[in-house]
Subunit: 109 residues, 3 copies
């Protein structure tokens, strides 16, 4: 058994969730926020048998798309930079960031 | 040290949380949603010494009950099935789904 | 690659998040609640290369402070204790509780 943690964009969350159900993949959904853009996104926890891990990754890949997001007032890296201007920048946000974690025990009561 | 991730029903969350406190088990609670029923549930993170893992599982088992939940408009699996009807189905929801995860480091500052 | 799960106080969350960005450390933020005080706090997930784990821990330590929190109506441990009184107690809340978890796979699509 493995525990997959997948961070995806909110726009893909419903479609991905439906596809998990379609494939009999059990999942739990949490509301989260990206550290850089500070925009809402979605974190899924999926416990799955080892032999189905690649299948879960394929379902995620099939439902999650890379998008550009325009950011006004981006976080500044250069603290010496004085500016009163807000300017938009374009950031590419990936479809999914995925961690596959080993598990010691999986139990259901 | 292990990290236990436990997904439980909202109705058992408070009672379980109180019992963790009673047993000196430290826990962090997150709001979550079930992927199938799309109903709110609760995800606990419990960091605990290896020798107390079974005790934590017993506390969870003692506070969390299996229930039936009636679902209107359930997710459809058969996409060829045309229907305008909403119909209720009964789903059995377990008391708890639990992952025990190995940890490399546990630190508190 | 490791997955760091860090539970910090809400008051330090923004400062910590900014410092992660400054250091090019990617993070996802979740709203959480402490099991004992039942107060809101923040859980960060940080996926990071093994060689940068200690650097992430240093960034967390540098931004998160231990504080005292006064609690009214604390959880009672002694169920035989009859009381109609609310009384304040002082609890020391640490800057951060951190788990470093091993990962089988890290993927981005
Ligand atoms: N310091 C920095 N400098 C320049 N560009 C930066 C940056 N930090 C982030 N970005 C860019 O901004 C996008 C959104 O990041 P955010 O942290 O809001 O939202 C992230 C975050 O919530 C999560 N995430 C990505 N990598 C992660 C990791 N290693 N650990 C934890 N969460 C991660 O997935 C979301 C999408 O990440 P993705 O990498 O596809 O897309 C990122 C990346 O292209
Ligand atoms: N392997 C896993 N990984 C991550 N999270 C997990 C998990 N197994 C369970 N969970 C979490 O625990 C909740 C209760 O699951 P349980 O299996 O007891 O109870 C389930 C199960 O009896 C049933 N169910 C779920 N998916 C199904 C499916 N594809 N087909 C038929 N029944 C399903 O509906 C109940 C509620 O499911 P829901 O997804 O709303 O809510 C789930 C989900 O949030
Ligand atoms: N092993 C672990 N697993 C998962 N999450 C963990 C954890 N250790 C700490 N946390 C999380 O970090 C927060 C701060 O914990 P800390 O131990 O610094 O500060 C704690 C501690 O000083 C005290 N405390 C907690 N439980 C206690 C108990 N049973 N008896 C006496 N004091 C307790 O109250 C403070 C706030 O606790 P609270 O639970 O509200 O909030 C906790 C909890 O959300």
């Amino acid at each position: 058994m493995k525990m997959i943690v997948a961070i995806v964009q909110d726009q893909d969350s419903r479609r991905l969730s439906d596809d998990f159900v379609e494939h009999g993949m059990r999942a739990t959904k949490l509301s989260s926020t990206g550290g850089f853009l500070r925009a809402g996104n979605t974190t899924f926890i999926i416990g799955i048998e080892n032999r189905r891990v690649e299948e879960v990754l394929a379902v995620i890949k099939g439902n999650c798309s890379t998008r550009n997001q325009t950011v006004m007032n981006p976080p500044t890296y250069d603290l010496s930079m004085e500016t009163d201007l807000t300017y938009p920048i374009d950031v590419e946000v990936g479809g999914a960031t995925i961690f596959v974690l080993p598990i010691d025990q999986f139990k259901q009561f």
